[in-house]
Structure formats: structure tokens, C-alpha cells
Amino acid sequence: MKRALVIGATGFLGLNVVDALQARGVAVRATWRKKSITVFAQKRRPEWRLAELDDLAAMEDAMRGCDVVFFAAGHYPRYSLDARAAIERGRADVRSVCTAAMRAEVPRVVYTSSIGTLDGSVEGPVNEDDRTPEPPVQSVYRATKWAMEEEVDVALARGLDVVTILPGACLGPWDVRLGTTGVLVALLNHALPWWVDGVVNVADVRDVANAHVAAAEMAPRGARYCFGGHATTMRTLFEELCARWALPFPAEELDVRSARERADAEEREAAPRRGRVPMPRELVDLVTWGRRVDSSRAALELGVVARDHGTTLEDAQRWLERMGHVPKTLPNTMPTTVPETMRASRAEGASDEVDERGRSSATRARDDRGAVGDRRRVGAG
């Protein structure tokens, strides 16, 4: 691979893909849009091309002469309020990029999807083979990503060489627009009003970027690779973060139905002013979808394994400090045990293990008590 085009090079994953490519000596071409935040990518000196996703001619021109196109700019619905519009937009984005790639005779496209397209009803950890056969219901985000993969299948059938990476929730440096990291910012600022338990697969964005580059070089045509990273529960993750940074545990835990309703209401309120909410609906959907992801195929075939989880958290914190999203005075105590105040918030002293539905012990205990619809306070703050 001598030259690659990165679509989405000004964004979180894209910036890290650019770094991974340049570390391997690959010349990087990058598309940008008029409202792109180019100030970070500019320092990497890519060959810039102004191209909107729906501008076929500009896209085709940007792709010509590239060995690989990294498509890391697929539609990510900011709000889960309009399923039809989100799905149509997502499909259109993929169709446009794939059509341009075929016209430009690009040898390979690496497409960024999501673990949210996987089937949540199977037993045990899920992997690349567990695609949900029907569009996911009750989740705009998952339905959109699922529909976008369907468009990739169409392009594959038409002869395009595409490999797909399905990352978990990414954390790490260069999260300019605060995706999943937004919940971390809220926690660090003591501003997380509520949360919901379930499984969360936390991937270091740099590992995900490395998986993209390795897939470009090594994967067979049509291959798909999960990269879930570190699988844990939301409760355990919060306990770890609160212990690390001496934070109060977020007080209000909601059950699934209440969390969906609350996220929807907050997004409806935030959307007119284009605001962000601490717990967006898509994160609620991913957490409550709740499957541990098996990333062994990426490890075996691409040689990419998850780095130490603590490093990911520390580097994410440094980035957030630099951006001014969190105070620079956070202690980094890195205790090896969970403080007593948090331990006391757990239900019946159960372990962190999750069940086949991805529920942690405390959530299981609550569900078993028939507490659906009930809000309760946990943690000592």
C-alpha cells in the first residue's frame, strides 16, 4: 500500500487511521468538507481533497490513484429521533462512496461499521458471523448501521472489494466531536444525571485504526472483523473510573425502558439547539444490547490485540484535559480495589460476571425483582 484515501480523516477514528498509515510510510490523501475541523489533521500534512460524500465526481477524483480507500465517515446519527431519515442518509452515504470507488477502480475499500449490527439474541459472546438477519428494532443507530452494511453487501455483489471492521465503543485521543467519550466527560465533571447497566465493549481507537490498516493489507475480500476491545459492564467501568479519579459514583441507575425514554426526551430537547446529551440513545441501545464481543479473528488474522485498558483511559483523559473538557487537576490514583462506598452499592455482593443477556449481577437482581419501570438510587456518591 503506497497511497490511501481516508474519508473522515478529520474525525476521531480517521485521525488515528491517518497516524497508523503514516507510521507505516503510506502517503495519505484526505477528504474534507466545508465544516470539517481540519486543524488537527492539517498538521499531518495529508493531500487534501474537498469532497462531500454525495459528490460522486469529487469522490471519484479523490479516489483515483489510491490503493485503498478507508471509509470512516459513514453516517452516525447524532440523535435517534428519526429512524427513516437516518437509515436513508446512511444508505445513501454508502452507495455514493461505493459507486465512486467502483468508478475509480479502487482495489480495496475498508469500511467502518459497528458491533451494533451483530445479533444480540445468540448465546455467549458474539463475533463477525453473528449478523442479525433482520434489521434491529428499537434502535435507530443499530438499524442505520445494519442498513449501511446491507449496502456494502450490494457493492460486494457488484464486484467491489470491501472489508469491514466492526469496532466497539471507541475511546482515546483525537475525539474531536466527543462520541462515546461524552459519557466520560459527563462523569469526570460530575454531570452524569443517570445511567443504565449492561455490557460495554471499550476499544482503544488506536487499536481499531491499526485493525483497519492491517485489514487493508491482509484481509481476504469481503472479510469482516470485530474489534470489541475490553468487554466489561457499565457498572464495572464506572466503578473503575470513579476509583481511578476519585469521583462520586453516578447516582441514578435506570432500567432499560426508563433509560430509553429518558434518552429520547433529552435528545428531543437538545436537538433544536444541536446540543449533546451525556447518555445518548445510541449508547443506551448498545449497552442494553449487551453482548460481549469476541475479537479473536482480528487477533489471529490481523495480529491486532487490545492494548492495556488503563492506557486507553489515561490517554483519553489527557486528550480531554487538552481540549478543556475536564479539569487538569484530576487525581490519578489507580487503586487496585474498588472503594467501600462503591462496593456497597452493588446488589447482594454478586460478581461482575454478566449473564447470557449481557446483564450484570446487580441488573439481574433488579430485573428478577420485577423492578421494570422503577428508578432507584445506587451508590453513595
Binding site: 475541523i37 481540519t38 486543524v39 492539517q42 481540549m323
Partner: protein
Amino acid sequence: MRETIAELLEIDVASVRGEQLLREDLGMDSLTSLELLSTLSREMKVDLEMEDAMEIVTVDDTVRFVERHLAC
């Protein structure tokens, strides 16, 4: 410069005045600040640091910031 700011904020250029505070008066948030910094970086063809945004508080500051960099 007023046109650039108005375009970024999607407001009428006539409502952008020199003494206005970008954040408090015009509602610019951290992301829009980075978009503005990116636009300035592209148009002046210079590398800017994120910290450069800290010194830009008003519309007039933006103009002075550009003039200073162009003079270098």
C-alpha cells in the same frame, strides 16, 4: 471575517458586529470555535494550535488574529 463567522454559525451576517463576544453573544460553542480555527488555518495556510482559539474572544479579536498572522 464577519461572513465566515456568520456562515459557521448559520446566522445573518448583518447581525455580526465587531464588539460581540463569540461565545456569549453569538452562541459559538467549542466545536464551532474549532471550525473557525480550521477555516482560518486553511485560508491563511498556517498551522494553528488549539490553544490559539483561547485568545479569540470577540469578532474583532478574530480580525486582529488574522491580521497578525498575515503580517508574519
